[in-house]
Symmetry: D4
Subunit: 252 residues, 8 copies
């Protein structure tokens, strides 16, 4: 409820076009309806081409199917992240239109191709980081962004990264995915003046502490322009990258 | 050096317009000169109105003064972060033109007021988070952005936060500063579809673990659209927020 | 043994009504029998309608069966928590009267329905938190409390939580179950003046550190009125909530 | 704003007693005023005899004074926690009526003695835990509860604790304060069927890890009925204990 | 080589009974042979009835069999700890005389019953701690000590522990095994003036952190007289308890 | 109160030699006095020459003085650990007979020299470990044990340690004090078959983590026979060593 | 590309022996080729007999096969570390010439025996450390170094280590592999003046924290001359040891 | 004692030139004297030009002076690390010949300039890392190595690092000093085939965790050829670098 609709309602009461009882009923949910949360959610979907993503971990395949069935009524490109084989099988068995990306553990329900706007570059430091990077790239594409992938460009082979610096400089936002020592985002931020969203991955062993080493390195980047999301959170990075890219592209 | 200028140089050699010796000299620095690092840095300064920020911790006041003296030759609004009283005294004694913000521990050398573009909202959860929030706000302003401050709006007084949701929804990017349980950025991202850069602060005690509790909460936000910087890193958040805001405002 | 009964015994000795030998015998176990531990346990069972709960982890199914068999002689609604399929199968094979709640990993042996007193609200932030929340709700019901469940009301969809604030304000105590960033208990405590027992869950990944992130957030709640139990400890929260609710309802 | 006052306002508009403009002005803040947050706060103050507590850490003495000055207009027994000497001096210099408890680092502004209801027992394991225990006891008293103190009763001298078990069993809620190995709350919960709010303290050295050892012990209590607050958080424990005690005593 | 045998060798050289060449050969290994390490090991075996224990984790069943085969030539009651089913099967298949205690994951090769000296009490806080406690008790028995077991005596049922205080006071050393909050060793040390070797177990969940919570509690015992071994290290506790008990019993 | 004195008291009442009132007064503390806690404490003091030690941290100098004044009425060699200059000054100002060991931060109140029994060897790895080692040695001496000190024998100079192996082998128990990598106790346990109580110290920097590195090393000793106390806890190690040594020497 | 070959290319263009087009093609990769990264890699391969090692974790068997197929075109003794059975089966099925060391999880593709230069000693503390030590030894051999193995020489049996001190003193570099308390490298560095590269292993349990205890011990070595690599990183230690050994042997 | 001197002693006994008694006396210390620890130390000093370094932390100034006075009798360039102002003042007051480097907290007692052999490059990522880097460089010089310094070359300004790659490639060993995200050593190892000894520094704040973030990054380097020493341990890195450099230069 906007100030305008509230004012209009009040005028209607004053004019006797609406009774106090009816107004009471409409205003009863005001505390949160007027907060516009659901409305905001709706707007987001219309604008960005997707509903809230479904995080599959901890949900049964049947729960995921039920949620997706409800969401694809109103939305296309509905995302289900961390979808394992059992979830994918259930979605397929339920006959839902969908695309299944097992490497990225991602299901796009009621998929619909769309021209991407702007440019998001998704850079992966190593081959083992590809599943997370691919989740980010696929999510960004499903949300309507142009995406370029740069792979196998960790700091042990810096020249491979430097070879892509023009592409990186052209991006509105860079999603930088790295495990182990997690240095790549810092290096990118050191030579490209674009916002870098760093995604630490759990790639590594021993003192990688399942990605904490990479996370800490990224948070301590000596180059400004780096912010960080949770370990292996390709979806989250892509979501924020899409917010930024579409603001720049004047979509939202 | 772009491919075009390289091709042109090669043509010049082939045509005898440039000797191999001269070409050798120009190509000698290619490995890094052509990387354009310094040039990029220069461009960043011209565009964004500021040089690299000086992180004062671990530097002597004399070192800070010397660096600032060199930087203000070419730049205005040169930032010195984590500047304590001793640094401020040294800068003043050296006669450098500057503004000193003790609460934010920030010095702006050769300060120059500028109209800010776009909109960055800096939200602080509590009074004790203000020094970090103020660092972020002052840095963002020095970098040429329009900044609005929202204070004392932590989740214990949610209504104060909700009162500002229109301002928050209008921002190109939100810097959300919170200590203790660090929940505010999640809540903001839950009702505003704008990128949120979360800054955990070391405000708290005991299990706040000097800000780690807030950091972890922010990294685990159940609302997408949140990325995180280091604890108390108001500068870093403002830098990235400025990158984003100015891309949207078509400054860079 | 109260001071009064002790004084009475001493008088009896002085008066020759009790011999020193008999007094010696009665006083020998005083150090602990008079502490009344077993008696207290018995009183607790009579009052609260349940025996000590059996924590199944680390016990063999046979051990669990044996303990339950002994407890249901004197008690109804005997709880076995963290009961997996093997335990449930053994309990069934042994022919014990029981109800088995696999989602909540809970067995109620010799179950007996009872009208609940007072009101405990069990709120779950997300679908994945439901097993722990359900453990809490079922335990609270088995202990004789009226329980209302509020689900899927995490801070990413704050309006869903706010919609229940009247119910929350009516509760004698609220059990708030959340994983990931664990912000929901703080938000509830921010707008309802009732004791909140927060249960962090291991829902999440990466920096959720198996629930430590949620735990830390809850311990650092900026809103007073929140206390915390162990990660995934739905039983423990329900036990204390029951103590409180029944004190208010004047049951104990 | 209650449903009744909202209904009354709507009736006034319908009846022409209030213009739409005036109603608009009053309803402008509705989204959060109607959430009743401020109102709840007000009710809490009226009922419990105190306003929101002021957490002094990270605030300047001047800020604390200003906040207290505003709060004591409407409230008595306004609490300022973690108040150090500088804060106390500033409060005294400002001429505010107050009581200063340096051991507990607590200021009670506009103090007003009151008869306490119900019973909260505050138990401290050792002499070094007394400052935190005293903060809890003083806060609980300021909030209008009857408080009994039990001191120096850690598990190394178990008999001292057992000597108080009748008092403990009589309490509506027990605040158990302990550092080092933090075992006392578990022991209390093992022989008294009352809710125990455990407060770990930073008393100890080495592997006490500034109170983390005690915190972990308390969270892992093998006796049910224990919940935990932040390290050294005597205020928080007292606040929740007061909520519980007053519910039992039918104050709120 | 003892000082006596060295002196004797030197005399033999001086007397010409041994050539310098032969002496050289015998003394070549002196730097470490004379350190007496192997000899000490041998003495230990003769005195205590057992050889070095074999830690099976990380060894193949074949390796364990080979080591045991060699050790039982000279020793009885050779211990193999952390022996899983595969190791036990291999030892059985190899035809080695042995006793297999699957709960304690312990194999005693070439077992030989012996009267135990002195008294070691092994106390376990809960049923789930029994495997570790049983490892300790069996090891202590195999090493020739009299052992008494006290079980299910955690602090949640303190009276069960207190019931055994005379037995505890009689022990030369107490091995106290506990998981979860790990409080039992402190409580024992609080009322019995005997050395307590505490064994934290990995029993628990969530913030038990696989036994770290119990370990920290034990290290921070407010009662003196407690020392601690590694988590789940029943063998190590029994070994040191045996050293102490046999010194008291004048065996070594 | 022993069973004998209790019986005797009861007989006295029966015989009229003691009135019920007087008995009541004496038995008022029975619930715990009969637990024998105080008795144990008393016995310990008589045997070992010292009362409970006073841990000064977190106590005011005045509190320490008051406790010591009371304790020295009945005891000699009363220990006050972690005593800083302020405590020592207060004790001196109060005119208490005492010895002050500033390096070890130890006060021995009403000191009385005594011949030590048995043998405890206190070994320190480095010069910086000496304060903790000295605390252990002085405490052990005050408790009536013969103590030998071995210093500067860390594993970087292994020969210095090996030079003392005969002394080490002669000890009833060894207190091994080491910081940094904490390897010395393992090495000692590898060549001497005596119980080793390891004391990690906070000596070191960076990854020593204030002694956690040494602690972990000691807990993971590959040589059996090592148990561990809290970081810098020379007192605790000495206390347990004294228990063991005096059992061997048949003092207790 | 060296300065010489660049100069020569430029001369060729100037002389018309190479067209600008051809030069362009060769120089297109210059920005990074001229950084010499690939060249360095090539030189390393020629000198050391091996290409970049393939880290198999996180790669599919098919990916590993594809990478190895490409690498063995130009290289011998190509290493694939952390190769499990599935990878080994895929490599075998693909018909690649290779040696498979399952214990060390190492594949050497296109293996070629070579005389080793210099001397690297690989010392393992215990039997369970052998897989990591063997990885180090095999890698060092494949890289062309002479390797001697010293096994089962942990500090619990110090004499076994001391027996090898002449061999250790002869080495150009020592790789010291140990789990549990991780003391062996410190001890070696204490009596041999050679660089020691310490490899912590995840051998242990409980507080070994999967190798962190050993890692911390090694980083805190009181003996200088120790540096450390990641937990279980036998490959990394061997790689650096090979760099050092071959510099001494004047190979690189 | 070398094999030769032992053989000679045995011959002397056989020949009657030495009595068995005298030989006994000389051999009594053999177990460790023959280990040659002290001799090795002596050899190290003669070869490398320096005695054992004195670690000043935890030692009193007087202790440091006493140790230095003894060491400079036989040695030049005796190092005292972590020397603060008080230590330096005491050394000066004692009249010892010395050089005092306050930035590096290093004293070189009885300093003697020497030509350095080989080449060690000490690279520092930032200005704040200079004290640690300078400690490394000065130590390496005092130990007789040629040292080149490369400063302010962190990954945020990668071109500054790349500008020095020829110098880096020329080094026998590189000491790479970095705080914050600690990426520089990985980057160096990625383009230079020389052993890199990485020194994490405590430079940073928040999640740098006093250098742990940099340490973890270095341990997880995706480029092989990096080993790591303790945080801020410039001395340790220089010591090992010197060992390596002098082996290459054939000094030891």
């Amino acid at each position: 409820m906007t100030p305008e609709t509230l004012r209009s309602l009040l005028d209607d009461i004053a004019a006797g076009r609406v009774t106090a009882d009816d107004a009471m009923r409409r205003l009863r949910d005001l505390p949160y309806a007027d907060l516009g949360f659901a409305k905001v959610d709706l707007h987001r979907a219309l604008r960005a081409g997707g509903a809230e993503a479904v995080f599959c971990s901890g949900k049964t395949p049947a729960q995921v199917v039920a949620i997706l069935e409800r969401l694809i009524v109103d939305h296309v490109n509905v995302l289900a992240t961390r979808a394992d084989d059992a979830v994918a099988a259930a979605v397929a068995a339920a006959g839902l239109p969908h695309a299944w990306h097992p490497g990225a553990r991602l299901i796009v329900a009621r998929p619909e191709a769309r021209d991407g706007v702007g440019l998001i570059v998704v850079a992966a430091a190593g081959t083992a980081d590809l599943p997370v990077a691919e989740e980010a790239a696929l999510v960004a594409e499903a949300l309507g962004n142009r995406v370029e992938r740069v792979t196998d460009c960790g700091v042990a082979g810096l020249h491979r990264l430097l070879a892509h610096r023009e592409l990186l400089a052209e991006a509105n936002v860079i999603v930088a995915v790295a495990g182990m020592e997690g240095a790549m985002p810092s290096v990118i931020a050191g030579f490209v003046d674009r916002p870098v969203i760093a995604v630490p991955t759990s790639v590594g062993y021993g003192t990688s502490l399942n990605g904490l080493a990479a996370l800490l390195a990224m948070l301590n980047s000596c180059a400004p322009g780096v912010s960080v999301v949770n370990i292996d959170n390709g979806y989250g990075a892509a979501h924020q990258a899409s917010q930024i890219n579409q603001l720049v592209a004047k979509i939202r």
